[in-house]
Symmetry: C2
Subunit: 404 residues, 2 copies
Amino acid sequence: MAVNLAPPAALTPIAGVKWSTVGAAIKSAERDDIAVCWLAENTITAGVFTKNAFAAAPVTVARRHLTAVAPRALLINSGNANAGTGIAGEQDALTLCDQIAVARGFEQAEILPFSTGVIGQALPMTRMAPALSVLCDNDTDAGWLAAARAIMTTDTVPKGTSRRVDLGGGRYCDITGITKGSGMICPNMATMLAFIATDATIAEPDLHQALVMANQASFNSITVDGDTSTNDAAMLSATGQGAAIECNEAGWGAFVAALTGLMQELACAIVRDGEGATRFMDIHIAGAADIDEARAVGFTVAQSPLFKTAAFAGDPNWGRILAAVGRAPIDDLAIDGVDIAIGDVAIVAGGQPRPDYVEAEAAAVMASPEFTIRVGLGRGSAETHVFTSDLSYEYVRINAEYRS
Amino acid sequence: MAVNLAPPAALTPIAGVKWSTVGAAIKSAERDDIAVCWLAENTITAGVFTKNAFAAAPVTVARRHLTAVAPRALLINSGNANAGTGIAGEQDALTLCDQIAVARGFEQAEILPFSTGVIGQALPMTRMAPALSVLCDNDTDAGWLAAARAIMTTDTVPKGTSRRVDLGGGRYCDITGITKGSGMICPNMATMLAFIATDATIAEPDLHQALVMANQASFNSITVDGDTSTNDAAMLSATGQGAAIECNEAGWGAFVAALTGLMQELACAIVRDGEGATRFMDIHIAGAADIDEARAVGFTVAQSPLFKTAAFAGDPNWGRILAAVGRAPIDDLAIDGVDIAIGDVAIVAGGQPRPDYVEAEAAAVMASPEFTIRVGLGRGSAETHVFTSDLSYEYVRINAEYRS
């Protein structure tokens, strides 16, 4: 069902990063559901986490561990989010970290835990502990794709991509990232996890800044259903085994652009594989007074169930776009500045329907599985893109039957 | 498909109010789709309208006319919202007002137009004008139910109710209201129209205050899909043919309570008949610091597609309630103050899952077509109710196929 999305053909290994995967039958016995990312000594890691007040136990632990010491292992499980599990859930996460730490001679705080899946159930610790023992003896630097598969929940396609970056002066670095997510996708991220690494040598403040900037234009610019999960995290590790780069030099722009492009590709892969998605849409808001306003309008359109069901039907029911723009939480919107187009077919200009609009032309655009909705606000020069999917029968089926 | 909702058995006529209905084949030839509410001389009318910046042409005209002079007729059509139709749409609305005014000897501004239905198409004026000629010769004070039917769009059940109010001192008044709406339902109202009248004698400022107060607890406390329409309006007329009542006297509380109850019943009827609804839910938020906060949490839960699909399945997936509470737009939510219950089954206490929780008990509550979700925030004493429906296959079908 995913829209124009194939599994990655190949993912570039990153010097200093190895992966192990194993099956613990957390939700299903038929697949690997635990992955560990091993980070070489001297690796620097930055992270951004969910803003949900009910952050899951692993998020609480990972956030705390990350501020204490540079991580040596990222421990990820799918099938169970270890969220809404209270103090016992936090203890479970710490127990798993301990097991990895003891097996490899690390401190507990050098392990960051991540979980994704159903909320409100305890982790099956009796199955996970023996699986972790197996996993610790098996690792490979070619394990990125296997890891991308192990962290999937309702995803139908594993998601990953790589970039080689020309930093100038004959220097290059590689970036590879994997992600998962399909429902509960929203700004401030969702049931979404992303693990990205580069062999470049980058100081922590620069790395963190690059992650935050790229995150805004990628994982914080997508929505499938407007829900923000308790478990979202995006991690960026720099192993320091390749070229050095810092934020004051010429090559930095190339690095950030490549990172942003990679994260946008990963974020859009989540939308393309959005639960029940049959369309992938770029909501392009221009002419806003500032970027916050552009995002507010973009998300109001992208999250409108009426727009999303019309998109599912391929129906150019532009009145639903107009109604969503009109109720967006911005002050004093003057409708006579508003333009609306579907693809390149202009429909509303200056708040008035265009007399030359031909509905069949807009319908032809929406017959495609992928298209752009353009909204001009006529208030300034800020613009943004919000990426979203449609709302289909399949979305309802997946979410009504998730636990059955 | 409507949840515990039958057509009204009888609606009490209101002295000073008559209705006419007629069919103009606006969207379908098989039913009446125009209704006119005739208001006797000296009737006072108050109104509240959509806050959507793209207010439809009839809303713009009705708002302007209402400030100019007391209305003598409310002209309502279904099947076409006359929204997104620009200057031509406003001219069409005025032309229709003119026709009514000339036929009955009123001023143009004494007619308020209302439209509901599909957005972005011109009204079929050539069919509406002859229908209006027929209509002006046909009116009855028993026409409330026929009017409730004529204003329906995707509604499956006509909606109306009556109250007799004991004002004290041997005085009584009657209130009758009708409403329509089923999709695009949200705070600040929706594709929702409501027409309410009483025979009581009430001054305009008091009448307006009563409408605004009752509206907050009724039409502004419901959501089906989070979308706010361009056409919403709720009108309250007092014909002055019965007992006099004013806001400084003892009986005023009884009047406002009865009006609020009537409007809440009408608003909940919209949710019960929500597009594709199979469940009716009362989201009860308590322990909030203030009412705005309570409403913010209530609407975040009520609009979560993940919660709504779980409700459709009758699945007590309380993690989705918890995740929605956690992402609600309120500051500094401390999770250790949060309680969650489904019906009377307590699930989360002080932010921790209760060890005595038995999922089968919550599943039994959710097997019912109607139940309450209770969220305690532990921050204060404000509370509110938000009423909502579930998200089903049928919701998607209705909205994907609306224009086909």
